[in-house]
């Protein structure tokens, strides 16, 4: 089908964009890469009166790797972030996750920040932001606020970005020393949204014993929930840590749902298997770090 009619706005500056969004209020929608919004418009599942196309705004496409992490601007495309060497060095989980997001052609247009605001429980990047404890910077006419990941994802396809607000960037914290990450998922077809997926972060102390072990799951509940499984692993070297016990703890906490692609029980099973694999992979990376 074709999109319903809307008033199209193409602001040339951030100030102008925020003015238009403030005036449009509930009736306004931001258009970034369009890789989630345009399918919804084509299917007529969304019908905003005003579409605010941010593709012409200057200065929003930056990907900046600093000691505290990688700050990604609202117009940085998935493909651009995936290619960024400084971003991959500062936080390897970004590239690991981005390779699992859709197909290369979709990644040429889709934006990282758009994926966060879209807040699909099946999407990889919200899980990454949640796992790392990152944040999203929201601008509105007259102000800016940073919202931590734990408060940003409020429900399936719902984020803390309010009408009139524009997400200008997101911060993905850097990988701490002696830490490793991994992303494992299962999809029916390559490039599809995952039936289930697990992002893991493992950190070691100076004696190379596990001190941090966290995972965030995809397609396992309404929002990307983070599970701290350091206790379940035991304060031991990776070779003797109880990864199976940790994975069982993750599996027990997951809240997947049935849909036409998979049953909740199958998803729960996958989450257990993937959690163990992702934790072991992340621990290996940590030992190599």
């Amino acid at each position: 089908m074709k999109p319903p009619p809307f008033d199209y706005h193409a602001p040339r500056s951030l100030g102008e964009a925020l003015d238009v969004l403030a005036e449009a209020g509930e009736e306004g929608k931001v258009l970034a890469g369009g890789q989630s919004l345009i399918p919804l418009l084509n299917m007529r599942l969304a019908a905003p009166a005003h579409l605010v196309d941010i593709n012409r705004l200057p200065g929003l496409a930056a990907v900046e790797a600093a000691p505290d992490g990688v700050r990604i601007g609202a117009l940085a495309r998935h493909a651009q972030v995936e290619r960024s060497e400084p971003a991959a060095v500062a936080q390897p989980l970004l590239r690991q996750a981005l390779r699992l997001v859709a197909h290369p052609v979709i990644r040429n247009r889709g934006t990282v920040v758009g994926s966060l605001v879209h807040a699909d429980p099946a999407a990889e990047l919200p899980a990454v932001l949640a796992l790392l404890g990152g944040s999203v910077r929201l601008a509105r006419r007259g102000g800016t606020r940073d919202v931590p990941a734990g408060e940003f994802f409020t429900g399936p396809l719902e984020s803390a970005a309010a009408p009139g607000e524009l997400a200008v960037s997101a911060l993905f914290p850097a990988l701490p020393p002696r830490s490793g990450t991994a992303f494992r998922e299962v999809a029916r077809r390559h490039g599809d949204y995952a039936l289930a997926g697990v992002a893991a972060l493992v950190g070691l102390d100076e004696d190379l014993r596990v001190t941090t072990a966290r995972v965030a799951c995809v397609s396992a509940g309404p929002v990307p929930a983070v599970a701290d499984v350091a206790g379940a692993c035991g304060h031991r070297p990776p070779a003797s840590a109880d990864w199976a016990g940790a994975a069982e703890a993750v599996r027990a906490r997951a809240e997947p749902e049935d849909d036409i692609h998979a049953t909740a029980a199958y998803r729960r099973h996958l989450i257990g298997v993937l959690a163990e694999r992702a934790l072991r992979d992340a621990a290996r990376e940590a030992l190599n770090a």
Partner: protein
């Protein structure tokens, strides 16, 4: 109230083209209906099938998930622009030679995707080819000949360079 029209200019296959379109006009429909370039096919309008893939400033994108107004002023290459006059491009010749198509519905999207893929990576591995075309669906060929065609195109390009 009639829908507001936007005056846009696209450089399509090297030619400056103007069109007057509503904001909601998909690039795929703009190319096909407003500009008469029906080589770009439309299958799903969800971004899933890939047959609407065109090159935007040389980079493959889904024309069904792009509004024409968003790309005002930019360069588009469609399947009609791949050949050099009467001479088909290496990718087109390889698809013909390897039977990389049957009904041809998916072909414009594959040709654009593969053209960009080989420009970025002139000697892709098996794995890279598979990943590169994984976003394009074909209901006829069973894909094997398409994969062969991509490798053959890389060969032809190497021979001719």
């Amino acid at each position: 109230m009639p829908e507001q029209a936007h005056e846009i200019t696209l450089v399509v296959n090297g030619t400056v083209r103007r069109a007057e379109v509503p904001g909601r006009r998909l690039l795929s429909d703009c190319l096909r209906h407003d500009l008469g370039l029906t080589g770009t096919h439309v299958g799903c309008e969800h971004g899933v099938c890939g047959c609407c893939t065109v090159l935007l400033d040389g980079e493959p994108v889904r024309s069904c998930l792009t509004f024409a107004v968003t790309v005002d002023g930019r360069e588009i290459t469609t399947v009609e622009g791949l050949a050099d006059g009467d001479r088909m491009s290496p990718v087109q010749r390889a698809f013909a030679e390897c039977h990389g198509l049957q009904c041809g519905f998916c072909t414009p999207g594959f040709l654009c995707t593969v053209t960009a893929l080989l420009r970025e990576n002139p000697a892709p591995t098996e794995e890279e080819v598979l990943e590169g075309v994984s976003g394009n669906l074909c209901r006829c060929t069973g894909y094997q000949n398409i994969l062969k065609a991509v490798h053959r195109a890389a060969e032809i390009m190497a021979e001719e360079s």
